[in-house]
């Protein structure tokens, strides 16, 4: 068939075809109109979706702020320490969700003391459940591989056995925060997801030598809530630790100085790095807890500039004696 012999298309067919073509042209035009952007993207000001961590502290009770317990058995000392501050019921109310933040930075076995002791975590989890807590979460953003850290440190197992849930750091659990009055924490990702639905926050940390800052204790433990390439803050370690104490207002901090890491911190790696000091500290004032605990490492509070900075920022007091800590020995 030649072109001449081919019949022309029917009117109906032509109209249908024209309508389709018109719709397609209109759609392309409408899409261009709606999506038209005369300026291009703006510079990122980084102020979107900022999260602020809640204040997890409980009302102050004079002379019920800090306890220092001597003893070798962590389960006994921690129970005593909390009992002397008014008992667990003061801190945890029925049906609350509690986040426990241990130091799980390294894939290191519990005996080496680089991470929070798992028995101690289990003991605190049990106390929380005894007080009627609905859920207890154990979480940290470790330096080494997260799954390995939780498993080798014995913390995953301790959490499982005591009924707590381990929350591993996943990218979507981090949201940016800006600390009011802070200089370093600006639009910086924090591990906020587990804290956003929590009622209480308990920090549990070992007492360790730390080359850059002098000592890693309760305040430095919050470093594990930072995301991103947080190591850049080591350029100004004292300010970042002080800012962490401003950013995180815990219900309670517990410092385990049953064995302290005197050398080769914060990783340790040898039993010879540890020294038995048989002390456990519970405190609502994290600055006071660190100020006392550093003495067990042979340091004075003035050796740690971040303590003065944190005190100045209103995070607590270096003069722990003024809190009249309860000092007791349990055997």
């Amino acid at each position: 068939m030649t072109w001449q012999e081919t019949p022309n298309i029917a009117r109906r067919q032509f109209l249908r075809r024209s309508a389709k073509a018109g719709l397609a042209v209109a759609a392309a035009g409408a899409a261009s109109y709606l999506l038209y952007d005369s300026r291009g993207p703006k510079a990122d000001t980084g102020t979107k979706d900022l999260v602020t961590l809640a204040d997890f502290s409980v009302p102050v009770q004079t002379h019920n702020t800090m306890s220092i317990i001597s003893g070798a058995n962590r389960i006994k000392t921690v129970n005593k320490a909390i009992e002397l501050l008014g008992g667990i019921a003061r801190f945890i109310k029925p049906n609350e969700t509690v986040v426990i933040k241990p130091n799980v930075a390294f894939a290191s076995p519990p005996m080496l003391g680089a991470t929070t002791n798992p028995e101690l975590i289990a003991a605190v989890v049990k106390l929380c459940y005894a007080a009627g807590a609905k859920r207890v979460l154990v979480t940290d953003n470790p330096i080494n591989d997260p799954a390995s850290c939780f498993s080798i440190s014995g913390i995953a197992e301790a959490a499982d056995e005591s009924g707590a849930k381990v929350v591993f750091p996943k990218k979507r659990f981090f949201r940016p925060t800006t600390l009011t009055g802070g200089r370093l924490i600006k639009n910086w990702p924090v591990f906020s997801e587990p804290l956003e639905n929590a009622d209480k926050l308990i920090g549990i940390a070992p007492v360790k030598h730390h080359s850059r800052s002098g000592a890693s204790m309760a305040m430095k433990n919050w470093y594990g809530l930072l995301g991103g390439r947080r190591n850049v803050f080591h350029q100004d370690i004292n300010t970042i630790i002080a800012e962490l104490s401003m950013m995180v207002k815990p219900t309670l901090v517990i410092l385990d100085a049953t064995e302290v890491m005197m050398t080769n911190g914060p990783t340790g790696g040898s039993l010879s790095d540890l020294k038995r000091t048989n002390t456990l500290i519970a405190s609502c004032d994290q600055v006071a807890a660190d100020a006392y605990a550093c003495t067990l490492l042979g340091l004075k509070p003035r050796d740690l500039p971040y303590l003065a900075k944190a005190e100045k920022a209103g995070s607590g007091t270096i003069d722990y004696q003024s809190l009249k800590p309860k000092v007791v020995t349990v055997t």
Binding site: S108, F168, R212, D236, G265, G269, P305
Partner: protein
């Protein structure tokens, strides 16, 4: 039950098991993680792995004895592995079926006819075995490039599971990364998509393992045959012939993968599996000339030394080739590694990566450590990679051997390499800023990275005293940024050569910690503002090359501390220590 149904059940069964073994190759304690699962079973059943390592290293490493079972069964029954067991073959089978299921019978018969090009796989096999066998000093095992079990293991481990995990985090709490995974995926997808052209394209034309089975199947006791007398030459038996082995003509025993589709499709029941030779005639051996086979073999024998002309095993060795702990010396390593990716999959920190071709073509997809990837260098208390290596290219070492304790105290720890500080990039060394993240994270006790303390006067750091009271010094210049020296790292150097820590500063005043300095301060005297810096050094006697320092270095582009394979234990000619 029909024989093809039994075959399909077998294929699904083995394919599922294969995937399951890939998933459980995950370090951990759950039932779905690496416990006693025989995760290497398919690689061990694979006689190409066994024969390859026998040719290169003259030994049969423990689990590879399973291959004997495959060989014996193949000699008796023919290429059952291809049609009934091989997960890669089953995948091709299924995709080929899907692609062509609606084609007319004539088209299918055309697709499944025998092609001369099916001989290519024998040449590939010959070349690979040639490279493995001779000459003994420069032999190299390259079967893993195309060995279907190694190929699918690598593809699932390094591409498919990480993509699934990215969406659902099934087997890993953190995102897994593999360098150059695109190439592995491209080859895998290419092999799968070729089924759209010809079913079981890979099996028919490329697969060196299939070629090996074909050579063994020529002796098969049971084989497919056709009764010619009553045959009407409908050729329906070739409609779904997986091997392209011409059951309607003179059947080629070596190409037959025992799919039994011919037997199923023959409406006259003329096809049977028996010990008698096929009444319609048969060709037992592969369709290759002795000359072609010999040429490929010689090609392979020449290729191995040719690869080594680049000097990768000599003075031109690549410093980035940091092998996992327990890896054999490089020449032996290359004689055993089949590039299956099991070590890369099981590594809990994801630091073990498939190598590119930078260290030589023979290096492709072998395991190397890249400390920039993953969750943190080579974990101190971990020896998972050697435990899953099917060929012992990475020896199954104990923790004591890795760390150099107990019985291994005299040997010392296994060093993967040595960390070097790049003083032109390091913050304290080059930029006058405090850091020492590398030292903190060094997991060795005592630390292999140590520091020395320096005080450095800052840029434009000399100031003139105006006056002072108690701990506050007013300076003439008045050009300071308020608070900038209050970090706890800055000190004032006075005329008495003593340094005192600065606790605060305004534009023109500096506050000093504690000490009363009234007596020291003379008007118009100079003070210097200094920063206290700890600068990192590496003790090569202690460094094990784990790379945790490199992983953590805050100079995150090109790290300011980097591990290279210098000083690695496995190659004594790379040692640094006296």
């Amino acid at each position: 039950m029909k024989i093809v149904t039994v075959r399909r059940i077998s294929q699904v069964f083995f394919f599922t098991f294969f995937l399951w073994f890939c998933i459980v190759t995950t370090a951990g304690q759950s039932f779905w993680q690496l416990r006693a699962w025989p995760v290497n079973w398919f690689l061990q059943l694979d006689p190409l792995v066994a024969i390859g390592t026998i040719l290169t290293e003259h030994s049969l490493y423990r689990g590879l004895l399973w291959a004997l079972a495959t060989v014996v069964l193949t000699i008796i029954f023919g290429r059952f592995f291809c049609g009934w067991v091989c997960p890669f073959g089953s995948l091709h089978h299924f995709v080929g079926f899907l692609a062509h299921r609606k084609s007319p019978a004539a088209k299918k018969i055309q697709l499944n006819k025998y092609r001369k090009a099916q001989r290519i796989k024998y040449f590939i096999l010959a070349a690979m075995l040639g490279m493995a066998a001779l000459p003994p000093i420069s032999a190299t095992l390259q079967t893993g490039l195309l060995d279907p079990i190694a190929l699918i293991t690598r593809s699932v481990n390094l591409v498919l599971l990480p993509i699934a995990d990215r969406a659902a985090f099934v087997t890993s709490v953190t995102q897994r990364f593999y360098e150059g995974a695109w190439l592995i995926l491209a080859i895998f997808l290419g092999a799968v998509l070729l089924n759209l052209i010809i079913p079981r394209f890979y099996c028919r034309f490329i697969c060196p393992l299939g070629a090996l089975f074909a050579l063994l199947a020529r002796f098969a006791i049971w084989r497919i045959g056709r009764d010619k007398s009553r045959c009407i030459d409908c050729r329906f038996c070739e409609r779904a012939c997986e091997g392209g082995c011409e059951p309607a003509g003179t059947i080629r025993i070596s190409e037959c993968v025992l799919c039994f589709n011919c037997r199923h499709d023959c409406e006259h029941e003329l096809i049977s599996y028996q010990t008698k030779p096929s009444p319609a005639g048969e060709i037992a051996g592969p369709d290759i000339s002795r000359r072609g086979f010999a040429l490929s073999l010689v090609g392979g024998i020449i290729a191995a030394p040719a690869l080594q002309l680049s000097g990768g095993l000599g003075g031109n060795w690549l410093h980035k080739t940091i092998r996992p702990p327990g890896a054999l010396p490089e020449p032996q390593f290359l004689k055993r590694c089949i590039k299956c990716g099991q070590c890369m999959r099981v590594c809990p920190t994801n630091v073990i990566q498939p190598a590119g071709i930078e260290g030589g073509l023979e290096n492709l997809w072998t395991p190397v450590l890249n400390n920039r990837i993953g969750s943190s260098g080579c974990q101190l208390n971990c020896v998972a990679c050697g435990q899953v290596c099917p060929t012992s290219a990475i020896r199954p070492i104990s923790l004591a051997e890795k760390l150099g304790t107990d019985d291994f105290a005299d040997l010392g720890p296994i060093r993967l390499g040595t960390a070097f500080v790049d003083r032109s990039r390091c913050l304290p060394w080059a930029m006058g800023r405090a850091c020492i993240v590398c030292q903190e994270n060094c997991p060795v006790s005592p630390k292999a990275i140590y520091t020395q303390q320096y005080y450095e006067t800052i840029r434009n750091g000399v100031f003139t005293i105006d006056h002072a009271d108690a701990t506050i010094i007013e300076i003439v210049e008045g050009s300071l940024t308020p608070g900038s020296f209050a970090t706890g790292d800055y000190y004032c150097l006075f005329a008495d050569n003593e340094r005192r820590r600065i606790t605060a500063n305004t534009q023109s005043a500096i506050e000093i910690a504690d000490d009363d300095i009234t007596g020291l301060v003379v008007q118009a005297a100079k003070i210097e503002i200094q920063i206290k810096l700890k600068k990192p050094y590496v003790d090569i006697e202690k460094c094990i090359g784990c790379g945790i320092c490199e992983h953590e270095c805050p100079v995150s582009g090109k790290r300011a501390i980097r591990v290279s394979a210098d000083g690695e234990t496995r190659n004594t000619n790379h040692k640094l220590l006296l």
